[in-house]
Amino acid sequence: MKNKQLALVIDLNVCVGCHACVTSCKEWNTQGSAGPLTDLHAYGENPTGTFFNRVQTYETGSFPNTQTIHFPKSCLHCEEPPCVPVCPTGASYKRAEDGIVLVDYDKCIGCKYCSWACPYGARELDEERQVMTKCTLCVDRIYSETLPEAERKPACVMACPTSARIFGDVHDPESEASKTIANRGGYALMPEWETIPANHYLPRSITETIAAVKEEN
């Protein structure tokens, strides 16, 4: 039995790009053990801040056959994380017990080398704290002793209105996460680099028009 690997499965078939995962993550983590998460020029020109999760938008095809794709992106907690071996202090580490990749803020020297080694741009240097930060899979929620058991999940998973984020152990074939990946063809990003991301994405699928009408046309 392989070691536990906790991860998120993002369902692009129902993500409407509402950014709930972006700000619910921000508000949990800025007050939690991973925080604070800085905002610079908060009310000025070009406001910028530390977020662990971003939602992007892409278009494919050309009018009228355009697809609009909303794309949440956060650390993929790779099984072969390229950001871990390059870190000189050991601040970037992958937990053996659950596969979560974390940054130890008290060891990090802010050299940014790990962010160079991440092909996904999943890491952000917090400008005020000058340490690298990234998605922690809400490890402080998962192992919390005070939260109700049903809520020991990442903040983004609790918040997502379309349930587009599924949380679980991708090494456990019986978990909802694994089953969804298997049934719906969940895939990894940039497989060419063999980082073996633990997070997977579920592709779009089109529910076709009724057969009778299809034939006619």
Binding site: N13, V14, C15, V16, G17, C18, H19, A20, V22, T23, S24, K26, E27, Q31, G32, S33, A34, G35, D39, H41, Y43, G44, E45, N46, P47, G49, E59, S62, F63, P64, T66, T68, I69, H70, L102, D104, Y105, D106, K107, V139, D140, Y143, S144, T146, A150, E151, A155, M158, A159, P161, T162, A164, I206, T207, E208, T209, I210, A212, V213, E216
Partner: protein, 959 residues
């Protein structure tokens, strides 16, 4: 232990911060969805907000805005002190002095009392948010002024009016698609912002269950992104699509005839003879009308006996088509036709080819859509084994389901052809037999309802020191219900319920300032605005309005002498006020989402909810509702004063618990835990502990009706009884679906001159004749008639993103990082034809104004349309942002391109729907050009300034 060679983590990722020690529940207010939330505190400080898993509306989820509530609370744009504009300073210059509440109340009480005692119309109260209307409407009514409304007339009144006049309900708070049972879901003209979380939850479940989702919209974003098919459509042409779909369905016999015969006025006989009854239903004097306002005693043509029979008879087979002559009786010899026959004739020429030329959708696709809809409705029919009895006493052992559902919003509404377009959709949904049936459209309490209350209709309805006998807003059903004085001039400052906007059921907020300054129909003294940014994004022709607010008469006084603005934040509007009243945030106050207003009901029953303070008010902020109750008490409104002249309510919470409506006793603002011991629901004596009960129950009360009450409610006997008993409705007669609207026909006859009673002024006769068609039809928006379409070939529209609500979130440090400025989205080919590159500076111009902005190429937009996010662009320094913030320097407002008036012959009319007055702000036509100076243009145009005001948190932090 400090061990330099250890590999163990030094930072504890789990227990570094102490756990949260307190959780308080309340209701979110970052948008109008009103999800249940939990506020988490640590040492008394608010640190986290999430969704309440036990709340029926959002079931624990929360959106980007709700998650950012903390930054709203901490926003430096908060105003915290009452302010009075310094004498002699200009409006808009932001020169204020801080005063205390007692002074503020004193000023207001004195001024309002004087107005109330002389000419109550001179006080106008308009609110930006619609969900507080039970209290603000009560205030206006008790004051005695008709000049009251919320923002619906600017926003989506067509959606409400078009559907409620047809089926007795509408989308969003009033009803919606039953996605639990639907197989095909068609979303039309819906932007990203409403109705938010419940729609997201339902849509996700629907897709995962294998449902097919089609989105019809000029733009593909948000919900439309996850549609299985996107059908681009030209803005303002959806009505043509609906006409063609009805044409196809009728031609292919794909309509629910039994449903139409029994539950709609399709079979009811319309008189065809010219004269005062032309186009009206004939009435049977021998039968009880049941409801004198909307009488039921009409006829159908019985195919068995080949004669006219009273409708609603059990053993009658009503004809839907054909033309007949009335036999012996009170209407002998009159030519009649069933209403459905007239609909059939109306859509006869609305072929898919005809609609294709208008909408840009291929005729083939329109036919295919009709086939899909028909297939879903009829080939996938199912039933639920729920027995129910209809209003005529017949028992049914199941409820039929036709699993095709719709949802629509502002894309249909915000056009000057919106009412008839929405009516077209409602009639289409009715042809399919999907009204209040599983898998189709379902009402939400207190709906279904039909028009019953009327607004004031003559001068004598308005008296000094007297509450209005009729509420300021109502539902006219005939010209006599219009708000006109003896000369036929409008009674209301916004001219709602006049011949220019007869069915303006939500008022016309966007006309108030212009009309008041012009003194047309009259001038007012005091304008009080709550949470409405009428000098910025809640107006058309922003520049003009800002000038008007500063306009003075010959006597040196402002044309609107006194302007009161209540808001929690320094919006652009605050600068223009004479008196500023600082409101609290939603986390600092009690609040009510009431059945008397727009509650958050579910399909299965009424739901109302409250807000309970999580934090104390900041500075000197006072909840607006407290201000209203305080003013009402000081002005000694009868509903707020005891018989011996004492103050009745100590404050807002006392008012909510103890106020009961006049009409029915036992009905108050909150439906839950009524009765002395909280044992009654919906109706009962006031319960002094009612607030505590809500606090103990997630701030929400959900009354689940028995299953027999949950469907076919328009005609469900026991439901109708229940609804009347609990004052959800005034009456209990069935709410027949109006395929044909004789209400509209009455106005048409008045314009024709063939009807006794009120007639419109000469210059509006043609207009009313044209648009008050009792059947839906499509016409090009009014703006197109006065636009050179060759010079301005493109449509320009806006929508709000999911992560920002109106102009409200630019002062939110997190949300503004997601949307700090906006681009104009243009189809790539269209942009290239105009040599406008991706990201380049450009001009977008209408015949009314021009704006400089940046372009963004997109394939997800129809080539004839350009669009942007509304209300992202701000005035410089508004909302306490830095003067060089992106919102003002790179953001822009499309409103500058829109005019609130259109030339109409030698007159001017409002740029709005001729039936409801809904602002036609998606009608504007534009052209685009590349800007010459790409490198030197570094900011958008036009630019405006706002100013900081005393008492703002931002300033306090500096000092």
């Amino acid at each position: 232990m400090f061990n330099p060679f250890s590999s163990k983590p030094v930072h504890d990722p789990i227990h570094k911060i102490s756990p949260i020690d307190e959780v308080k529940k309340t209701t979110c207010y970052m948008c109008a969805c009103r999800c249940g939330i939990r506020a988490h505190l640590r040492d008394g400080e608010l640190v986290y907000i999430d969704g309440n898993p036990e709340h029926p509306l959002n079931q624990g989820v929360i959106c980007a805005k709700g998650s950012s509530g903390i930054m709203k609370q901490k926003s430096p744009a908060r105003i915290t002190q009452p302010l009075l504009r310094k004498k002699g300073s200009d409006r808009g210059a932001g020169e204020f002095e801080v005063i205390d509440w007692e002074t503020a109340f004193g000023i207001l009480t004195e001024r309002l009392a004087k107005i109330r005692a002389t000419d109550p119309k001179k006080f106008a109260l308009f609110t930006g948010r619609d969900q507080m209307q039970a209290l603000t409407g009560l205030f206006a009514r008790q004051f005695g002024t008709p000049n009251y409304a919320a923002h619906g007339g600017f926003c989506s009144v067509n959606m409400a009016a078009g559907m409620i006049y047809t089926i007795g309900g509408s989308f969003w708070e009033f009803g919606g698609p039953d996605l639990d049972h639907a197989k095909l879901f068609i979303m039309i003209g819906t932007a990203e912002d409403h109705h938010s979380n419940p729609m997201k939850i339902a849509l996700s479940k629907f897709k995962r269950a294998g449902g097919r989702f089609i989105s019809i919209n000029p733009v593909r974003t948000g919900y439309s992104a996850i549609a299985d098919e996107w059908i681009p459509i030209k803005p303002g042409t959806d009505g043509a699509l609906f006409m063609a779909l009805m044409h196809q369905l009728i031609a292919n016999q794909q309509y629910d005839a039994p449903f139409l015969e029994r539950y709609t006025n399709s079979g009811q006989l319309v008189c065809l003879d010219p004269g005062p009854e032309e186009g009206l239903f004939l009435f049977d004097p021998n039968f009880d009308p049941l409801n004198p306002n909307l009488p039921h005693n009409k006829y159908v043509w019985d195919l068995q006996t080949n004669s006219a029979q009273p409708c609603y008879q059990e053993n009658v087979r009503p004809a839907l088509t054909g033309e007949f002559t009335m036999g012996l009786g009170p209407h002998a010899g009159k030519r009649v036709a069933p209403a459905f026959e007239l609909l059939r004739r109306q859509v006869k020429d609305c072929t898919p080819e005809w609609a294709s030329a208008i909408t840009g959708i291929s005729a083939k696709r329109i036919c295919k859509l009709a086939d899909e809809i028909g297939h879903a409705a009829f080939q996938q029919e199912f039933s639920l084994p729920i027995p129910w009895t209809d209003t005529w006493g017949k028992t049914h052992d199941s409820v039929v389901g036709r699993p095709v559902a719709f949802h629509a919003m502002r894309g249909l509404s915000a056009h000057s052809n919106g009412f008839q377009t929405v009516r077209g959709l409602a009639v289409l949904m009715s042809l399919l037999g999907t009204i209040d049936r599983p898998g189709g459209f379902r009402h939400k309490a207190p709906f279904p309802r039909q028009p019953n209350v009327k607004p004031p209709s003559c001068n004598s309805d308005i008296k000094p020191n007297t509450p209005l006998g009729k509420p300021p807003l109502g539902w006219p059903t005939q010209p006599e219900d219009l708000s006109l004085n003896e000369d036929g001039a409008p009674l209301r400052i916004d001219k709602a319920f006049s011949w220019e906007h007869p069915l303006a059921i939500h008022g016309l907020m966007h006309n108030v300032i212009t009309n008041a300054v012009k003194g047309d129909p009259y001038s007012i003294d005091t304008l009080m605005i709550f949470m409405a940014n009428m000098s910025w994004n809640s107006t058309m022709n922003t520049t003009e309005v800002r000038t008007l607010l500063n306009t003075k008469g010959d006597d040196g006084e402002f044309k609107i002498p006194f302007l009161v603005v209540c808001d929690a934040f320094q919006s652009e509007m605050v600068n223009f006020a004479d008196l500023v009243l600082p409101d609290t945030t939603y986390l600092e106050r009690h609040d009510v989402m009431s059945m008397l207003d727009r509650p958050i009901s579910e399909f299965d029953g009424p739901v109302d909810s409250v807000r309970i303070p999580v934090l104390p008010p900041t500075g000197n902020c006072k909840p607006f509702q407290e201000v209203i109750v305080e003013l009402a008490s000081r002005l000694k409104f009868p509903a707020f004063t005891t018989a011996d002249g004492q103050r009745k309510f100590s404050g807002y919470t006392d008012f909510i618990v103890n106020y009961q409506t006049d009409l029915v006793d036992g009905i108050g603002f909150l439906a839950g835990w009524r009765g002395k011991n909280g044992e009654k629901s919906l109706r009962g004596e006031p319960n002094p502990n009612q607030w505590d009960e809500y606090a103990k129950n997630n701030c929400v009360f959900h009354y689940q009706m028995p299953i027999e009450h949950q469907y076919m409610r328009n005609w469900n006997h026991s439901y109708l009884k229940f609804a009347k008993e609990n004052a959800l409705r005034k009456d209990n007669d069935p709410i027949m679906i109006n395929i044909y609207s004789d209400i509209l026909q009455k106005f048409r006859l008045a314009a024709k001159g063939s009807r006794p009673g009120r007639t419109p002024p000469a210059h509006l006769k043609e207009r009313i004749l044209r648009y008050f068609d009792p059947l839906p039809f499509w016409y090009a928006p009014l703006e197109e008639e006065v636009t050179n379409l060759n010079e301005f070939p493109l449509n320009a529209i806006t929508q709000r993103p999911m992560a920002m609500y109106h102009s409200w979130d630019s002062q939110n440090a997190w949300l503004r990082q997601i949307h700090s400025h906006n681009y104009l989205f243009i189809n790539t080919k269209t942009a290239q034809e105009h040599q406008i590159e991706d990201g380049a500076w450009m001009w977008v111009e209408s015949q009314w104004g021009k704006v400089k902005c940046m372009a963004r190429h997109s394939e997800a937009v129809d080539p004839g349309t350009v669009w942007t996010w509304n209300a992202i662009g701000k005035a410089e320094s508004a909302w306490s942002l830095d003067p060089n913030a992106n919102e003002s320097k790179k953001g822009f407002l499309l409103n500058h391109l829109i005019s609130e008036e259109l030339p109409f012959g030698e007159f001017r009319v409002s740029n709005s729907d001729p039936i409801t007055g809904q602002a036609g702000w998606y009608d504007v036509r534009v052209k685009i050009l590349s800007a010459d100076d790409q490198t030197t243009s570094s900011e958008t145009w036009p630019q405006f300034k706002a100013y900081t005001v005393p008492g703002m948190i931002a300033l306090k932090q500096e000092s």
